[in-house]
């Protein structure tokens, strides 16, 4: 009895010891900073950087449309940049999905050794530095870059195409960077696809399109949703890709945040923008969680 108590209390002490570092780390350097940011987003920006400790909801007002007073007019530029970022993030998700989905089927039907090797090849670029991968696309897309030099050399175009500093370049760069993120969840799902259901559908007289839409697509939906979320989150807040491939022409919310913090030193405004991104991320995650919960209940019935 006494011995049992000692063992139990010793186990509890061990548990506390094991959990202490992570509690301290994420408490102090993760939750507290996020909390401070929430507070900053409703404080007045100081004259020379920093904050004034007064309630000031106009950081959000500047973005969403309630100006400080009657003299100030609402400038929709920030809202349109935010909506533009949502659009670019959605396009990135869509195009990475379109190129990764067929590739997942291609890999899933390979033999064991070849499959492992190709999976390795697809994962590897993820480890190449982000900047280096963007650098490659700068070399490809710029007016004196590879594609324009090639097309001009072949005599197909007289003037270099303006590919850099367009939404096209930003989406292309992000699709390139996030391909492994999209591929792996889809692949994990496609790999488990039960082909007997596909055959059953065909034997029952479904056309290939019907089989795809009503059997294959629903069965691989979790992978599609998972990959889309994993790509959407970093795409929405990205500022390095638009900084180089979008230049001053294609701005995203990330660029605004960067500037409010490092150039105009309007921290509360930057914090408000960052929280709008967080809110979008949380919204997407919540939709997914409710969806997952619903599918689970349906499965139980």
């Amino acid at each position: 009895m006494i011995a049992g108590d000692t063992v139990r209390s010793r186990r509890r002490r061990a548990l506390l010891l094991l959990l202490a570092p992570v509690t301290l780390l994420l408490g102090v350097f993760f939750l507290v900073p996020l909390g401070i940011m929430v507070v900053y987003s409703v404080l007045e920006p100081g004259l020379y950087g920093g904050v004034e400790w007064t309630w000031y909801p106009f950081n959000y007002g500047r973005i969403l449309g309630w100006p400080l007073n009657d003299y100030e007019e609402f400038d929709p530029i920030y809202l349109s940049i935010f909506l533009g970022s949502l659009k670019i993030a959605c396009l990135t998700v869509l195009f990475s999905l379109l190129i990764c989905y067929p590739a997942a089927f291609w890999v899933s039907r390979m033999g064991e050794r070849r499959k492992n090797f190709v999976l390795f090849l697809i994962t590897l670029p993820f480890f190449a530095n982000l900047l280096v991968r963007i650098y490659a696309w700068l070399l490809l897309l710029r007016p004196t870059g590879f594609i324009n030099t090639l097309l001009q050399g072949l005599g197909l175009i007289a003037q270099p195409l303006d590919m850099l500093f367009t939404s096209f370049a930003v989406v292309l760069g992000m699709v390139y960077i996030f391909t492994p993120f999209m591929f792996l969840p889809i692949y994990a799902n496609v790999e488990k696809l039960d082909y007997s259901l596909v055959r059953a559908s065909q034997d029952l007289g479904a056309t290939p399109l019907q089989t795809f839409l009503r059997v294959i697509l629903p069965l691989t939906a979790p992978g599609i949703v998972g990959g889309s979320i994993i790509v959407f989150i970093p795409a929405l807040g990205n500022f390095i890709v638009p900084a180089f491939l979008g230049g001053s022409k294609v701005q995203m919310t990330g660029n605004l945040i960067e500037r409010s913090f490092l150039q105009s030193r309007d921290w509360p405004f930057g914090a408000a923008l960052a929280l709008l991104i967080m809110a979008s991320v949380v919204l997407v995650l919540m939709i997914q969680l409710t969806r997952a919960a619903r599918t689970q209940t349906k499965g139980a019935v």
């Binding site: 350097f29 291609w106 039907r109 090849l121 650098y135 696309w137 070399l139 324009n148 390095i240």
Partner: protein, 280 residues
């Protein structure tokens, strides 16, 4: 559609063709960097004028730079060496600390039952889900507010906050696939928890721990966004250095440096992936 896989050869051929295009999309841009890094043309990298190793030589200090135009865009080997040293210092420290924290947390969550376990599980996933830029500015605001001087130390702390989660996930996967009877046997035979951990648990999860360390190491070494916000004036890392160089213009020296960075990351990642795939 899928019946076609067996009867006609059309679908497999199309799929293979598509697959190779997919791989080409992933690798051709990187191959282009490699090719350009050997091009002697100092003005336009897209026009080949001959093979050279000069750009690599400028990194290691083997060749003087010709012409004042290029000199303005070329970084001295000592500068490059200093930022590489900073990067490695940060990556090794951050990876070591996060490996310890991630591993002990994984053990706590895998081997103990306690109230609030689900809270910890969610908390550990969060740093990976929060967009980089949000974590970066949150840390900046915190460090400045708490009176920290921005330095290599703040970068290390910042990296540890999200890298611990990566190590946690990798080690947890390993622990989940592990047989617990050996641990029980060790305890029954009178070994203390520490001895059991050192002699039984740790050897079994070692590939996961090393894999987690390498993953953390490479992510820390490559991190741009979070480092960008929490680096001080004197604490530039290699990615920030490349970022500054790229803002000044695209020069052959960056191309050569890029090739070296890719090669190093690929070697480390290959070792890590091989370790992870080894069956328990």
């Amino acid at each position: 559609m899928f019946r076609g896989f067996k009867t006609f050869r059309l679908w497999p051929t199309l799929f293979n063709a598509y697959g190779f295009l997919f791989l080409a999309f992933l690798y051709l841009p990187l191959g282009l960097i490699l090719l350009y890094s050997f091009n002697a043309n100092p003005i336009n990298m897209a026009v080949w004028t001959g093979f050279t190793l000069d750009w690599y030589a400028t990194i290691f200090g083997g060749a003087g730079v010709k012409g004042s135009f290029d000199a303005a865009f070329t970084e001295a080997p000592e500068r490059i060496f200093a930022v590489v040293k900073n990067s490695f210092l940060v990556a090794v420290s951050a990876a070591t600390i996060s490996t310890v924290i991630g591993t002990v947390t994984a053990i706590a969550l895998a081997r103990y039952r306690f109230v609030g376990k689900r809270f910890y599980q969610a908390l550990l996933i969060l740093p990976m889900l929060v967009p980089d830029i949000v974590l970066g500015i949150a840390l900046l605001v915190f460090f400045v507010g708490a009176g920290f001087q921005l330095s290599l130390l703040t970068i290390i702390i910042g990296h540890v906050t999200f890298l611990s989660s990566y190590v946690f996930v990798v080690v947890s996967t390993r622990l989940a696939g592990m047989d617990t009877t050996l641990e029980q046997a060790s305890a029954d035979l009178g070994a203390g928890p520490l001895t059991t951990f050192r002699r039984v648990t740790l050897p079994q999860i070692m590939p996961g721990v090393v894999g987690g360390f390498l993953l953390a190491f490479i992510i820390s070494l490559d991190d741009v966004v979070i480092t960008y916000f929490i680096a001080g004036v004197g604490s530039q890392t290699l990615p920030l250095f490349i970022l500054a160089m790229m803002r000044r213009g695209l020069r052959p020296q960056i191309t050569a440096l890029a090739v070296l960075i890719i090669l190093f990351s690929f070697v480390v990642a290959t070792v890590g992936l091989l370790l992870r795939n080894r069956k328990p």
